[in-house]
């Protein structure tokens, strides 16, 4: 590429500029600016501001390996600068339109200050323009580095950014093992110190370079020559090690992170259930929270020592809660499971909303506490040992997740899994080969409900009280987003999805306000770009990329199946 594709440069630059503008004008930049990543140097808000410029530069430079440096750099510079133009205009606008805040509430003086690096508007704007142009240039310049250096370099940078963004994780771990003074040296209040960042970057770079230059080739070779037995043995070792790691995890993480993991685990449990419904059987359920609520309320009512409760032992109440959720799933499922696709989605949404309204209603207040919820939910115990701390619940949830994973895995590979897959692919034909549609769907629905009920039972006990506002539609959407982002139908994907969508926001409380916005963007982007999810199941991957990858016959791609079968998500 020796000439600049001006159209593309302008297009990319302006798109990035609009992204930056929107992030600024809706208050994201300002809110995220309170999060230090590298103390005194970089905040999350600035990252949000600068990343598009960098990416713009990176993307306009293109993928062509043989390119002249000057046009490449020029294109990057221009794209970066263009990405700054909309916000610079915003700064200018805010300069003379003093009442802008009456209209756009987040265009605050603080935002302008962030955008202009605390200087007065003209020099600040120019600085911003310069910085973003420079970043665009850098983004483009990345392409000029030889690939073997480039990759480790990018990886090390990413690692440093991720490390500093989620510095809570290493901080809490370090707190477990190191003295406080030492910890403070690396982690001030939030984020990490500049020196620490440099050290971490250097270390990461060294590791990545070593990996790139010495390791990669050899490992790839090994990978190729490995025997199936050895692979099986390796995966067994991996499983044993990870299980051992899971067992000692609370010791490593400390109480706060353990609680986060327990929270993630609750969602893993629910997502495993919804994954059976949506991923295996292809039934979109938007009212999934209803079963979570049933499990939580039934268990809470049985175990609570308060006015409404019966004071039953948790170990008796929990299975009853699960069974209640399953029965509820069946009772609801029977009428709705004859509906198809999107109608089912809407009806389940309606049921979820009905449950949400009912749990807080005056109608059921005498029974389930209405708005005031249920207090003093019972805790599980073994003899005189009672579950209290997040650590205890971690093990309970871990056991629940393991059980659910096992059940989901065995069912998927068994007859039921095959029936679900057939129903998902073509209901009519599935019925015509002798599969009882309602029974098969009901089974998925009931098992999914059971997992959610279990999650609810543990949730109520862990939190110690049950209030209606824990059962909003949002939970359903959250769980759905988990399985979509993780990979529909994929068991490891579900776990990964829960960590990304529940664990990360838990670590970044700043996200909370923008959580749903980010979910919305994620759902759209995932569907457009990577519908199979982050960690897709083998089946799903071949479904969504069958046409691109494996083509034993060219004719097949054009065969009658192409139009006919629509695998549901």
């Amino acid at each position: 590429m020796n000439t600049i594709n001006w159209r593309r440069v302008i297009q990319v630059g302006l798109i990035m500029g609009v992204v930056v503008l929107i992030a600024s004008i809706i208050g994201m930049v300002q809110t995220f600016d309170e999060r230090d990543m590298i103390a005194g140097l970089l905040t999350l808000g600035q990252l949000l501001l600068f990343a598009p410029a960098f990416y713009g530069g990176f993307s306009v430079a293109g993928k062509d390996e043989r390119r002249a440096p000057v046009p490449t750099l020029l294109a990057g510079l221009l794209a970066g600068a263009l990405a700054a133009v909309p916000v610079v205009l915003l700064v200018a606008l805010a300069g003379f339109w003093t009442t802008i805040r009456d209209y756009f509430v987040n265009v605050s003086p603080q935002l302008i200050e962030i955008l202009t690096f605390g200087r007065e508007s003209v020099s600040g704007s120019l600085l911003l323009l310069g910085v973003m142009a420079g970043l665009g240039l850098l983004g483009a310049a990345i392409h000029l580095i030889p690939q073997r250096v480039r990759r480790p370099f990018i990886n090390a940078t990413m690692f440093t950014l991720v490390f500093s963004l989620f510095s809570d994780v290493p901080l809490n771990i370090a707190n477990q093992f190191l003295s406080r003074d030492l910890v403070r040296l690396v982690f001030p209040s939030k984020g990490i110190t500049v020196v620490a960042a440099v050290v971490i970057f250097a270390l990461a770079l060294a590791v990545a370079l070593w990996w790139e230059f010495s390791g990669r080739a050899r490992r790839q070779q090994q990978q190729a020559t490995i025997t199936p037995e050895a692979r099986r043995r390796n995966s067994l070792i991996v499983m044993v090690v990870s299980l051992a790691l899971l067992l000692v995890l609370p010791r490593i993480l400390g109480i706060f992170l353990t609680n986060v993991v327990a929270q993630v685990g609750t969602f893993v449990l629910m997502a495993l259930g919804l994954n059976i419904v949506v991923g295996f059987a292809g039934l979109l359920d938007l009212g999934y929270v209803a079963f979570f609520a049933v499990g939580a309320y039934v268990t809470a009512l049985l175990t609570s020592t308060g006015d409404l409760g019966l004071g039953v032992n948790f170990w008796i109440a929990m299975p009853i809660g699960v069974i209640a959720a399953v029965l509820f799933g069946i009772v609801l499922g029977i009428p709705v499971l004859r509906l198809r696709g999107d109608y089912l989605a809407i009806v389940t949404l309606g049921f979820g909303e009905i449950i949400r309204v009912l749990v807080r209603s005056d109608l059921l207040k005498p029974v389930i506490g209405g708005a005031q919820g249920i207090l003093d939910v019972g805790r599980p115990n073994f003899g005189s040992f009672t579950f209290v701390t997040p650590e205890h619940y971690y093990y309970l949830i871990l056991a629940g997740c393991m059980l659910a994973l096992f059940i989901a895995w065995r069912l998927r590979d068994g007859r039921a899994g095959r029936q679900w897959m057939a129903v998902r692919e073509d209901e009519d034909v599935a019925e015509a080969v002798g599969i009882n549609l309602v029974g098969t769907k009901l089974l998925a629905f009931a098992i999914g409900a059971g997992f959610a009920g279990l999650a609810g039972a543990i949730f109520g006990s862990r939190v110690g009280s049950v209030f209606p506002n824990s059962f909003e539609l949002l939970i359903s959407i959250n769980v759905l987003a988990i399985i979509i982002v993780g990979g529909v139908g994929s068991l490891p994907g579900v776990v990964l999805g829960a960590f990304v969508l529940v664990g990360l926001p838990e670590l970044l409380r700043e996200f909370v306000e923008f959580r749903l916005l980010i979910y919305g963007i994620l759902l759209i982007v995932m569907m457009l770009v990577r519908p199979e999810g982050l960690w897709p199941s083998a089946v799903r991957r071949r479904e969504l990329h069958a046409a691109e990858t494996d083509e034993p016959s060219v004719a097949a791609a054009e065969g009658p199946l192409h139009e006919e079968v629509q695998p549901l998500v």
Binding site: Y103, N106, V336, L528
Partner: protein, 358 residues
């Protein structure tokens, strides 16, 4: 045939569905009887019932206008445009914050009330259309050949996206929608006492519905939309620009949502970023009630739902002795949706959906 054989031949699902039907019908009958003949709960006089009814009717008009967007898009693409409620919200928010509040502050609102309403409506309609076209272009069009649930999921994503973009732009507070003083108060028509704004809503929504129906039936654009709804491939062969027709469908739906947004402001006098979600679901319910894909169906479903929501709680729920009856009106609405989908999926006046569509 032995007893056990007979038992095996019984479809237990049908049995359960019958039980379900009977329970619901019994509930409704008992509730109404107790209310009307045994005076359960508060006693209402006839003017109260008329108030319930009119209020429900005008609310239904709003639902109907929003429902049109759902029904038209469903008719053409067979997808539930979950984000349609946000198109409605965007029109209301943008027109209130950017136009209405400025015009109200300058006193223009009462000097030129008609012009004020026109300007606000134009702003709302344009915003709704813009948001809708942007959504269609980015989140739906690339997925037109994808499995059906894929666009539904992007639609859910788009719904949250717009909601929180507008929250970010204008904040999370309630904003007053300025109403010209001439529209305040009541008016007497045919011996019935209407709030002026309620009457306006009912009239405007009926006019808009008729106008839209004629548009779709009579104009060239309307015909091309119907052709695309019948069969996209054939329509394309006939020289119809399918993308354009679909975009037009979205734009028309959004236009109705924009009109609904202004009417909404006149009635409830306030806007907030979260205002689109619940009306969106309700309007979708209305569209399904009437028979999704049909314009008169959406209208009928909207009015029906509005009236049921207003009259149902005092008439049926209070009759059954439920405390806090109005809190449960969403339950009535969604139960109605569930019942219709289970027992009459084609809706009140809808045609039976062909196999490939259902």
């Amino acid at each position: 045939m032995t007893l056990s054989q007979r038992l095996r031949d019984i479809d237990w699902i049908d049995v359960w569905l019958w039980v379900f039907r009977v329970v619901i019908i019994l509930g409704v009958v008992i509730g109404i009887t107790r209310k009307l003949f045994f005076g359960a709960g508060t006693t209402y006089d006839s003017s109260d019932w008329i108030d319930f009814f009119i209020s429900g009717l005008s609310q239904g008009g709003l639902y109907a206008l929003i429902a049109l967007g759902y029904t038209m898009v469903y008719g053409v693409l067979f997808m539930i445009n979950f984000a349609h409620g946000e198109f409605f919200m965007s029109g209301a928010m943008a027109s209130t914050y950017l136009i209405a509040s400025t015009l109200a502050a300058s006193g223009f609102i009462n000097e030129q009330p008609i012009l004020y309403l026109v300007l606000v409506t134009v702003a709302a309609v344009l915003t709704s259309m813009g948001v809708s076209l942007l959504t269609e272009r980015i989140a739906y069009r690339p997925l037109r050949r994808a499995p059906r649930l894929v666009p539904l999921i992007t639609a859910i994503g788009a719904s949250f996206f717009w909601q929180y973009i507008f929250r970010g732009l204008f904040g999370s507070a309630v904003k007053a929608f300025p109403v010209p003083t001439i529209l305040e108060g009541r008016v007497n028509v045919f011996g019935l006492d209407f709030l002026k704004v309620r009457l306006i809503v009912i009239i405007v929504s009926i006019l808009a519905l008729i106008g839209l129906y004629l548009f779709v039936q009579k104009t060239k654009t309307g015909k091309s939309i119907r052709a695309v709804a019948e069969d996209k491939d054939v329509a394309a062969l006939m020289g119809i620009d399918v993308d354009r027709a679909i975009a037009t469908t979205f734009a028309i739906g959004a236009m109705m949502a924009g009109i609904a947004a202004v009417l909404w402001g006149l009635v409830f006098k306030q806007v907030i970023f979260s205002m689109g979600f619940v009306p969106g679901i309700k309007a979708f319910t209305a569209a399904v009630l009437g028979g999704i894909g049909s314009i008169p169906g959406a209208a009928l479903g909207g009015f029906f739902l509005g009236v049921i929501e207003a009259v149902g709680p005092p008439l049926i729920l209070e009759g059954l002795g439920a405390p806090g009856a109005h809190q449960l009106k969403d339950v009535t609405a969604f139960l109605l949706l569930v019942l219709v989908l289970i027992f009459r999926p084609q809706g009140i006046i809808g045609e039976r959906l062909a196999e490939k569509k259902a």
